[in-house]
Symmetry: C4
Subunit: 382 residues, 4 copies
C-alpha cells in the first residue's frame, strides 16, 4: 500500500486488523456526530498564508514542564494498543523515544507499565482513569513513579463508557462475540500470527499485575464499566494532587468551567478533548471548544488538545486555536496497526514534515510564534 497521509494508515489498518478491532478504533459514540464534527470543524479552520516572511531556522521544538520535545505532539493513551501490533505499547514507546516526543500509555494497556518503560530511555508519561478502587490507583501510580514516569495524564471524561453502537455490529460486544472474533481473526492471518500468536499474553497488564491474576481481554469493557466512578467530584481528587508531585494533566475538558476547576485543583495542564468522539455524542468538536477555553483560562494552565487531528496542518490549526501541544489517538494506532513501530515513526515524521511546510507558508519559524494571528476568520459549520 502506498502511504502518504494518515488516512492511508487507516486504510492499511482496515486491511490488516480483524473487523472488531478496526471498528473499535475507528468508531465513536452514538450516531458519531461528534466524531464527524471533529474532522469537519477542523477542516473549516482557515490559515492565513504569508509570503516572503523570511522563515529561517525553522524549528518544531518546544518545551513543556521544563523539558524540550522535538515536536509539539504527544502519543496519547489508547486502550488495548497491544492488540493492534505485537506488544504494541512497547513498540509505540520505542517510536516515541526515537522521535523525541512523550508517550502516555493507557491504564488499560496490554503491556504493563514496567514492560513499556523497559523499552524506552526517554521519560515516560502515564494515563490514569478515575477508578472506584483507590488501592489500585495508588499502587499503579507508585509503580509508574518507580519506572520513571514523569507526568500524569488523568482522564476524567469516562465516568461511564460512551454508547458505542458499532461494538455489537463489529463483534467486539454482543452475543457470540468470542466466536465472531475468532472467525474474523482467521481472515487476517498476518495479524493472527503477529498479535494473536506471538503477541501474548493478551491481558490488561497493569491490572493483572495488581490483582495478581490474569485479566482476560474478554472482560475489558466489563472491567472498565465496573470500575468507573461517576460519583467522584473535583474535591475527591485532592489526595491525588497531593500524592502526585510531578506535572498533572487533566484530560477530557470541554468547557471553560471545567478548565477553571482543573486550575483550582492545582493541575498544571489540561487536554481539551472529547475522547475522539467516543463519549458524549452531541458534544462540541474540540475545534469549537478550544478557543473558548483558551480565552477563559489564559496562561493559567498549559493547554493540550486532541480529537480529529489527521495531518500536520491539523496540528498547526490546534496550536493556532490555542493549544500548546496536540495528543494523537487514532493517527498513532492506525500507523501502529499498519506498520508497527516503523509506522509510528514514519507517521511522526510525516506530521513534522507537513508542519514544516505549513509553518513556512504561514510565515512562522517556531512553535511559540503560532497563535491566532495565523488564523483567517474561523466559522465552524457543523
Amino acid at each position: 500500500m502506498i502511504i502518504s497521509r494518515i488516512e492511508d494508515y487507516r486504510e492499511a489498518a482496515r486491511r490488516r486488523l480483524p473487523r472488531f478491532l478496526f471498528d473499535y478504533i475507528d468508531g465513536g459514540a452514538g450516531a458519531e456526530q461528534t466524531l464527524a464534527a471533529n474532522i469537519a470543524d477542523l477542516a473549516q479552520v482557515r490559515l492565513k498564508q504569508r509570503v516572503l516572511a523570511h522563515v529561517e531556522n525553522l524549528s518544531l521544538e518546544t518545551e513543556w514542564f521544563g523539558r524540550r520535545v522535538s515536536l509539539p505532539v504527544v502519543l496519547g493513551p489508547v486502550g488495548l494498543t497491544g492488540m493492534f501490533w505485537r506488544r504494541g505499547e512497547a513498540a509505540v514507546a520505542r517510536a516515541a523515544a526515537a522521535a523525541g516526543v512523550p508517550y502516555a500509555p493507557s491504564t488499560v494497556s496490554v503491556c504493563a507499565i514496567e514492560e513499556i518503560a523497559a523499552q524506552s530511555a526517554a521519560p515516560l508519561w502515564f494515563q490514569l482513569y478515575v477508578l472506584k478502587d483507590r488501592g489500585f490507583m495508588r499502587s499503579v501510580l507508585e509503580r509508574a513513579q518507580e519506572v520513571g514516569v514523569t507526568t500524569l495524564v488523568f482522564t476524567v471524561d469516562l465516568p461511564v463508557i460512551g454508547t458505542r453502537w458499532r461494538d455489537a455490529h463489529s463483534g467486539l460486544a454482543g452475543p457470540f462475540k468470542t466466536e465472531r472474533q475468532l472467525f474474523q481473526a482467521l481472515g487476517k492471518p498476518a495479524w493472527a500470527w503477529d498479535v494473536g500468536v506471538c503477541g501474548r499474553p493478551h491481558d490488561l497488564g497493569n491490572i493483572s499485575h495488581y490483582l495478581g491474576r490474569r485479566t482476560g481481554l474478554e472482560d475489558y469493557l466489563g472491567w472498565i464499566n465496573a470500575n468507573m466512578d461517576p460519583s467522584i467530584g473535583w474535591s475527591d481528587l485532592e489526595w491525588l494532587r497531593n500524592f502526585w508531585k510531578g506535572p498533572l494533566i487533566i484530560k477530557g475538558v470541554l468547557t471553560p468551567e471545567d478548565a477553571r476547576d482543573a486550575a483550582r485543583l492545582g493541575a498544571e495542564a489540561i487536554v481539551v478533548s472529547n475522547h475522539g468522539g467516543r463519549q458524549l455524542d452531541g458534544a462540541a468538536s474540540t475545534a469549537r471548544a478550544l478557543p473558548k477555553i483558551r480565552d477563559a483560562i489564559g496562561d493559567d494552565l498549559l493547554i493540550f488538545a486532541d480529537s480529529g487531528v489527521r495531518s500536520g496542518v491539523d496540528v498547526l490549526r490546534m496550536l493556532a486555536l490555542g493549544a500548546k501541544g496536540v495528543f494523537l489517538g487514532r493517527a498513532q494506532v492506525f500507523a501502529l496497526a499498519a506498520r508497527g513501530e516503523q509506522g509510528v515513526r514514519e507517521m511522526l515524521e510525516m506530521i513534522a514534515q507537513e508542519m514544516r511546510v505549513a509553518m513556512t507558508l504561514t510565515g512562522v519559524s517556531s512553535v511559540e510564534e503560532i497563535d491566532a494571528s495565523i488564523l483567517d476568520d474561523f466559522q465552524p459549520t457543523s
Copy 2:
C-alpha cells in the same frame, strides 16, 4: 440481525414488513423536507459535557399529572399498529406497562380500546382525532373512561391527511393496491403468517365497535379523510374540555400562538409535533419550534415533544430544548415490527441506557435538572 440502535430496528422492520406498510411508517409528506429536518436539526443540538460532576443515584423517573413514570417517554399514537405485529396495540400496551411508561393508542388502532386496556394493568392514555361525527367522539371517550383511560391526547394537526407521495409508489394507495399489497405480503411470509393470518380481524377496532360493523382496512385512508374536520376552531372544543375531566394534551402544536390558545382552552399539556413530518412539508422541525414555544409559554403548560427522536441522546436534547417528556412514534413501531412486545421493551431499555450515559456525561442526575444549561450554543442549519 444485530440490533444496537433504533436505526437497526428500522432495518429489521424493512426486512420483515411488506413494502406498503414499511413505507407507510417510514415516509412523510411531500418532498420529505420536514421529515429530514427533524433528524438533521436534532443532530445539531450540541450538548455540554461536564466532568467530575459527582453524578450519584442517577434516576430517569419523573412525574406528570401527579403520577410517576420510570422514563420521560410516552409511546405515542400510531395508526394501524396492529398491522405491524399480531394485535400490535395490545403488545405495545404490555411493553409500556412493563417499562413503566404511558401508552397512548391511536383512534385508528386495529385493536379496540377495550382489547388494549385488557392487556395492561397500568393506566392507559388515549389519542383522539378531531372528527366530524361528535357522536363517535363522545362514545369513544366514554368507552375510554370506562376502561380506565386517565389522559386524553387530542391530535389537532390532521384536519386533512398530509400529501404523502410514497403511498402510491409503495402500493398503500393507488390503482391495484389490493393486488400489490397481496403480492408484497407473499414475499414476507413471517409477517404474512403472524399478522396476515393470526392477527385478524384487521379492522379499525374503535370504529367498527361504534358503527356496529366491520370497517375494512381498505377504507382506512378514506375513512380518515372523510371524517377529518378542517372547519373546527378552538371554540368548538369547549364541550370536549368540559366533557373530559382528566388531563387533556393537545398534540400537534408548532407555534407559540397555538400553544397559547391551547392554554386558553384549559388544556394541561401540549405535544410540540409536526406529526413526524407527515403533515405539512415545509413546516419547521420540532428542534426549531420547541425553544420558541417554551419561551412563550413558560410553565403554563406541560410541554411534550416528538418527531425525529432516534436515541436516548435525542430524548435528552428535547428535554434540554424545553420539553418535559418525549413521545416516540417510529422508534416504537419499528421496534414492534422487528421483534414485537419484546422489541419495544428492549428499545425502551436502550433509550434508558443511552440516557443514563448521556446524563452522566452532562453532569445531571435527574430528569428535573435537565434544561438549557446542558446545551452548547444551538444553531440549526436546515
Copy 3:
C-alpha cells in the same frame, strides 16, 4: 409508471423522450448553479403550521386583470412544446381551458397561435420575445389579438441565449446533431410515432407563417440567436406599450431596479424569473429575489414568479414570498411529455390538491390570505 408527484412526470418524460429533447427541457445554463439554487432555496422556505384555524370553504380561485382563475397558476411559455407531444401547444391549451387557468404559449411554439387558439374556448395569453424584426413583432401581435389573446407576456431575459453546456452533449447542438437526434429517436418508438410521424409539421408555427415558408426545426437555436436583440433598452419598448392595449406582463425580472423600470413603462405585471436557471448561471434563485422585489414594488405591479416550482407547497411558498401567481415551466412540459393533455390536467389537479392540504394546514382558506404571515423565518442557504 406510478405518478404521485411532479418529479415522477420528469422520470416518465425521461423514459419517453429522445435524450436531446429531455435534456433540452431539464438542463440549465453553465454549471447549473442557478437551476439547483431554485430548487434548494425554495425547499428552505419554511411554512408556519396553524391548527384549529377554522378553515372553511377553502378556495383556490383568484382574480388577475379582472378575470377569475380557478388556481393561481399560469401554464408558462415553453419553446418547442409541440416536440414533446403531438401538437403539444394545442394539447396544453385544452388542458388549461379545462382547468380554468391561463396558458401563455411561446413565440417559438410548434403550433401557430391560430392553431392553439382554435383548441381553446378560454381566453389565451401569449408570450413574445424582444426581437430584431419589429415587423414580425407587430404582425404576430396583430394575429394574437385577432385570435383573442387577452394578455401579453413579454420576455426580456433573453437578449442572448444562455450558455447551455448540455446541448452539445445531448445532441441538440454540435456536430452530427441530425444523425444523433435520429438515432436517439429510434430508441424511443412511442415518441417517434406520436410526435415524429403524426405530430408534423415540425416547424416554428408563428415564424413560418410570417416568413411565408417552413422554418426547419434545425434552425431553432440559430433563429433565436440571430433574432434576439441585446441593444434594446426600456425606452425602445414604448411603442409596444402603446400598441398593446391589454395587460402587459414583463417576464424575467430579478432586481428591484428592473421591476421599477417595468412599472415606469406602464406594465401591469412582472414575472420574477430566472428563466428556470437557463440564462445567467450565477443569478439568484427566485426564492431569494422575490421578497426584495415585493418589498420594493409594493402593489404597483401584479407580481408573478416562476423557476423551481415542483409542488403545490412550492406554489404556496412563492405566494407567501410575495407573488400573486406562479408560472409553471418544466412541471407543465414534463407532464405533457409523459401523458399529453391528460398529464397536464392531472398535474394541475395534483398541484391544486397539494395546495388545498397545505392551505388547510397553514390555516388559510383563500389565495388572498396567503402572505408572509404564513412564513416561518426564511434563511436561504445556497
Copy 4:
C-alpha cells in the same frame, strides 16, 4: 469526446494522460480543502441579472501596462507544460498569440524561454520563482529580456513545495516511480508517441541551459525543493526591482498585508492566488481573499486573480470581486493536454463566448464596467 465546457477538457485530459501527470495537474495540497473551496466559493458568487440594459458593441478588450489584450485573461505559468503535449509551452505560446492574450511560461518549463519566444510574434511574459541561486535568476532574466519578454511574474508562494498527498499515489513521487510512470505511459499510447517519443528532450529547458547540462525530469521536484528559498524577505527583492525595468507582478498574495508590501516594493501588480490550492491547504479561497485585498489596496496595484476559474462566468465573478484580469492554470493545460494548441484556442474562445453572454445578461458592455455593482449579496459558505 464532446467538449462544451472546461470540465470536458479535464475529462479528455484524464483519458489521454498517464495518471501521474493527470494527478499532478488535477491535485492539490493536503486534504485538498482549499482546492475544493476555490470552486465552491466561486460558485457562491451571485451575479445580478439586468434586463433591457441596452448592451451594444460589447467588447472584451482591456488594457494592462499600456497594452491592449483581447480578453482579460492570462495563460498562467504551469510547470512541466511540455509534458502534457509535444513541446507544450511552444504550443501554448502560439495559441496565446492567436487569441491576443499574454502567456507567462513557468521557470520550470520544458521548452526554454528562447524556444517559446521563437513561436510567438506577440509580446511574452515570464514567470520566475524565488530561488537560492541568484546567478540563475539574473541569467534567466537577462535571457528573457533578450527574447523580448515584457512583463515579469514573480511567484512568491512557493518557499517550499506544498504537501501533495496524491503524488505518491499517482506515481509522480515515491518508490518505483520510474517503473510506474513507464507502465502508465504504456497504457496511453497516443500520449506516449506524441510526447514521450516526439516531444523530446524532456528536461527543464531554462535550467539545463544555465547549468550547461541536461536536467533530467526525474529531478524536477527535487530541484525545486533544493532551490526554493524560504529565508528570503521583501527587502531581499530590492535588487530584483532595480534589475527588472518592465512591469513586475507579484504572484501568490492572499492577504492585504502582503499586498501592501508588494506595493511598497514598487511592484506594478499582484496575482491574488493560492496557487490553485497546491500550497497551503487550509488557506482561504481566492473568492474570499480577493475583495478584502481589493478594499485594502484600492488602485495602488493592478490586481489579477486565479485559482478555481472554470468558465467565462467565473472570469466575470473574479472581475466583479475586484480583479482586473484572471490567470488560467488548469483550464489552460487541460485544454492543451486534450487537444494541443487547438484546444487552448478553443478554450479561450469558449471563455470569451461565455463572457459575452454573461456580460449581456448583467448589462455591461465593457470590461471596465465590471465591478461590485454586478454582484448580488455574496456570502461564501466553505
